[in-house]
């Protein structure tokens, strides 16, 4: 959680969000691309972390890996005419709310926010495992007030801030074990997160730009 680059201050869990009133519960990533879910599926590209990890997991479900997302492209291309919506990451919550799509991959935070607005949505941990990634804080090179920066780090990972951030409307996942987790999260304690799928970003980052361009070309009408 701490390395020479920075410190993790919050976590996000990625899985599948779906409308339980319109669709049966999906089991895993493969279900997204098959009926009855695919005709109500909304997808987004590699611009964000949750989009990237979800597409990597879909690729893995079809034989790919962290560095090889070709299978995801192949499978998506096959069902492309059936997919309900392909949008920008920020637009996905709005599309779910408007009923343009009824199932997509997303963060727990997004699901919690939509639920609080009265949207019918449930979070599902895929059978291959939910994905976890962390928000980190770093000190910029050449910073002048390093001592206070460290104190700020301590405050952010402290119990008081953690307690405040788990509440709506923030719905963060804390990294501090003393913070009590609300029932909206799919885990009862933070140790469960060590069973979640994590990715090696040093391998993924150099490839992301090319994936973004490929996504454009594959998805373009």
């Amino acid at each position: 959680m701490i390395d020479e680059w920075g410190i993790c201050v919050g976590a996000q869990v990625v899985g599948i969000g779906y409308n339980p009133k319109k669709l049966p519960k999906p089991k895993g990533w493969k279900d997204l691309l098959s009926d009855p879910w695919v005709s109500r599926l909304g997808i987004t590209g590699f611009q964000t972390t949750f989009g990237t990890v979800s597409l990597i997991e879909i690729a893995k479900a079809f034989g790919g890996s962290e560095t090889n997302v070709e299978p995801a492209f192949v499978e998506l291309k096959k069902v492309l005419p059936k997919i309900a919506a392909v949008g920008n990451p920020a637009a996905m919550a709005g599309l779910l709310q408007q009923g343009q799509c009824d199932i997509t991959y997303t963060n727990i935070q997004t699901v919690a926010i939509l639920k609080s607005r009265g949207v019918d949505i449930e979070f599902v941990k895929p059978d291959s495992g939910a994905v976890a990634f962390f928000t980190t804080m770093h000190i910029a090179k050449g910073a002048t007030d390093v001592e206070n920066a460290y104190k700020y780090f301590d405050t952010v990972v402290g119990k008081a801030v953690g307690d405040a951030l788990v509440q709506p409307p923030h719905n963060f996942i804390p990294v501090n074990k003393e913070v009590v987790l609300p029932p909206s999260l799919p885990m009862t304690n933070l140790d469960e997160m060590s069973t979640y799928v994590r990715h090696d970003w040093s391998k993924i980052n150099p490839l992301r730009a090319a994936w973004i361009e490929k996504f454009n070309k594959e998805m373009a009408k």
Partner: protein
């Protein structure tokens, strides 16, 4: 709002002579300096940045230019973007021109109401209007619910994330930009000309096409120019209503600069957008200059 007057032509309104003596060019200095600093210098920087091979901007080269213009996908995106502008212009003319004609013949009180109605969309931000269109065009939106309840369709129409939905919403969003120049020019039309045409025996349609349309050309051209430039660069509407399957140049620029941080490539795409839009705008301006001949003889 007056449309740009054709270059080189002196308007009959200022008595036929020039407004400034050539020796008073110093009067243009403040604006020219501001223009140079705020617009020209960053533009030159943009062009400079495009001539680097790597995204850290350390090695000069033509790599990014070759990458963009060597990829057939880029030409598809440029063509799609320009076509979107053309479609929006045609749609706004089709709906806007009749509305301008109605304005022309309306009594004074109704004209005031019409102007307010036309300007009203401009009172809202583009973002708000765009999101309103999602509610209208969505699967469970106003249009679909109306058509379903009337029994005209049995399945909701797919309007959002299609080019049709995008053109429809852009037409409404850009309509004031077409109508205001049109109305401004048409309201200066000498009504005697129309009466003369009718007196000489021309039918209403003939009067429309041989008298009114040519005389309103400067306004029409100005409107086309504004609508084209605005709709091709309408990033928010294109991405929110069009979705990510409709790829236009503004989306590419945003992705390359704010997601991938490949500034040289983003600069190349930006320059492509600038050149494409400028080409069409120049062609329209040339058309406007030629049609100015109708107005001023």
């Amino acid at each position: 709002m007056t449309p740009p007057s054709p270059h080189g032509a002196t308007s009959p309104a200022d008595g036929g002579g020039k407004l400034f003596a050539p020796s008073e060019w110093q009067l243009t200095l403040p604006l020219a300096l501001a223009f140079a600093a705020i617009f020209l210098a960053p533009l030159l920087m943009l062009i400079g940045v495009s001539f680097f091979n790597d995204d850290k901007i350390t090695q000069p080269g033509f790599g990014q230019w070759a990458k963009f213009y060597g990829d057939p996908f880029s030409y598809k995106v440029i063509a799609d973007t320009m076509l979107l502008g053309v479609k929006t212009v045609c749609a706004t003319i089709l709906i806007g021109y009749p509305l301008a004609l109605v304005y022309l013949d309306a009594p004074q009180r109704l004209q005031k109401v019409l102007i307010f109605v036309i300007v009203m969309p401009l009172l809202l931000s583009v973002v708000v209007r765009t999101f309103a269109w999602i509610v209208v065009l969505g699967r469970e939106g106003v249009v679909n619910q109306l058509l379903l309840s009337l029994g005209i369709i049995s399945e909701p129409l797919r309007l959002l994330q299609t080019e049709l939905g995008l053109v429809i919403s852009l037409t409404q969003i850009e309509m004031p930009l077409m109508l205001l120049p049109l109305i401004s020019v048409m309201s200066r039309l000498d009504p005697n000309l129309r009466d003369a045409s009718a007196a000489l025996g021309a039918s209403r349609w003939r009067t429309l096409f041989t008298v009114i349309v040519p005389l309103s050309m400067p306004g029409l051209v100005a409107g086309c120019l504004l609508v084209f430039a605005s709709s091709t660069t309408a990033f928010i509407s294109q991405t929110v209503i069009g979705g990510v399957r409709l790829i236009y140049l503004p989306l590419l620029i945003w992705q390359q600069s704010l997601v991938v941080f490949n500034w040289p490539f983003a600069a190349v795409v930006s320059i492509a957008l600038l050149i494409s839009v400028l080409t069409v705008v120049s062609a329209l301006s040339w058309l406007g200059r030629r049609s100015g001949g109708y107005v001023h003889g």
